[in-house]
Point group: C2
Chain length 190, copies 2
DNA sequence: CGGTCTCTTGACGGAGTTCAAAGCTAGTGG
DNA sequence: CCACTAGCTTTGAACTCCGTCAAGAGACCG
């Protein structure tokens, strides 16, 4: 049951079987199909989500109606609108399945109970949030460092298998370029 | 002693005087003058830094020799290269004082001891990392949403007093535009 | 198979960069 | 406390990366 989730926890903290059972009783498993939503803009983000299998993304729609993907979450990554979650404010983002996904939700309203009963989880989440921060810092560097063409080439060479899993328009919106320009870059390189 | 630091902790967790004394015995206060460094590219980041007073920034230098500022830390913010800190890998960034600053360093090699003796701090740092993540997500949205001109105008209207504290070339490098173009935008708006 | 997304192509335009050079400002040492 | 200098800011001209628009080809789903 949720092998990725359990293995991931145990890479950072130790939990015995009893504790794992307790934990599993307090989480909420969610399965979503392609294009279904975990969160929509305007709602308050009610949980932190662990991707057990599948692929999920975060995006927003600007005033011109154009989608901008800000984040992908593959297997073993956490995703949520952390501003909305921290402040109970309404979210500026959508979270949506790119592929059908099974997700573990840690719900806000059960968090206190969970952390009181399994204090090791404070440590686990601290480490996860720190790791996510590190990733965010590197991403900022990545985008600032290079031209859009270089961004594209780097990304494809770093994550060739991942690029196969997402439609081009979505990659374009993540890399901050238009589908037309991405198409042009692809033509040049083949 | 370190009023901002203590007050900030107590906004999120409770600590009695004895615990505060213990904490203060395990931190390392650092004062740096303008342009001095807390971290240089290539070093391993050895601490998480809380800005008690002053102003600090994170930046890197690309292959053309151009500086890119990725983050500012004002009073009451934490700053570190979290990838380097988590993995003990060498850093891709510099951390430098923009103004003379007094900083509280939580050193990696004392972290275990600190967290064992003051387990509430796990919670505090979890919340700080989550807050930083929320800020990072909003920043990505901010940059993706608008043109460079709009980024500039928004930033100035949101943080007019902060803009006074930093040189223009540094604001330009944070907003991902050239000093020449920033100068042009300033002229237009006055 | 029909219709609606997705991807490609090409022409055009403009936001933003590059380069060079000249003012300005602020910090430093004499 | 002044003078010098290095570095910051401004200006303007040329250029280019990349977005916009429009239209057609292809792909996928009901």
């Amino acid at each position: 049951m949720y092998p990725n989730f359990i293995a991931h926890l145990q890479r950072y903290i130790t939990l015995d079987n009893q504790e794992i059972d307790l934990l599993l009783s307090l989480i909420k498993p969610v399965t979503i199909r392609k294009k279904e939503f975990l969160l929509k803009e305007g709602q308050v983000c009610k949980a932190n989500y662990f991707v057990e299998t599948g692929l999920v993304r975060m995006f927003f729609i600007n005033e011109k109606g154009i989608e901008h993907t800000t984040q992908f979450a593959l297997e073993n990554w956490w995703i949520a609108d952390y501003m909305s979650l921290s402040n109970r404010s309404s979210s500026h983002f959508h979270i949506q399945a790119v592929e059908a996904a099974t997700v573990i939700a840690i719900e806000q309203h059960k968090e206190d109970q969970l952390l009181a009963q399994l204090p090791q989880l404070e440590r686990y989440f601290r480490l996860m949030m720190q790791r996510a921060n590190g990733a965010a810092q590197m991403r900022v560097k990545f985008f600032q460092d290079f031209s859009k063409e270089e961004n594209y080439r780097q990304f494809v060479s770093l994550f060739p298998q991942f690029v196969q899993r997402i439609p081009q328009y979505m990659l374009a919106s993540y890399l901050r370029l238009t589908p037309e320009y991405l198409s042009e870059l692809r033509k040049k390189s083949i």
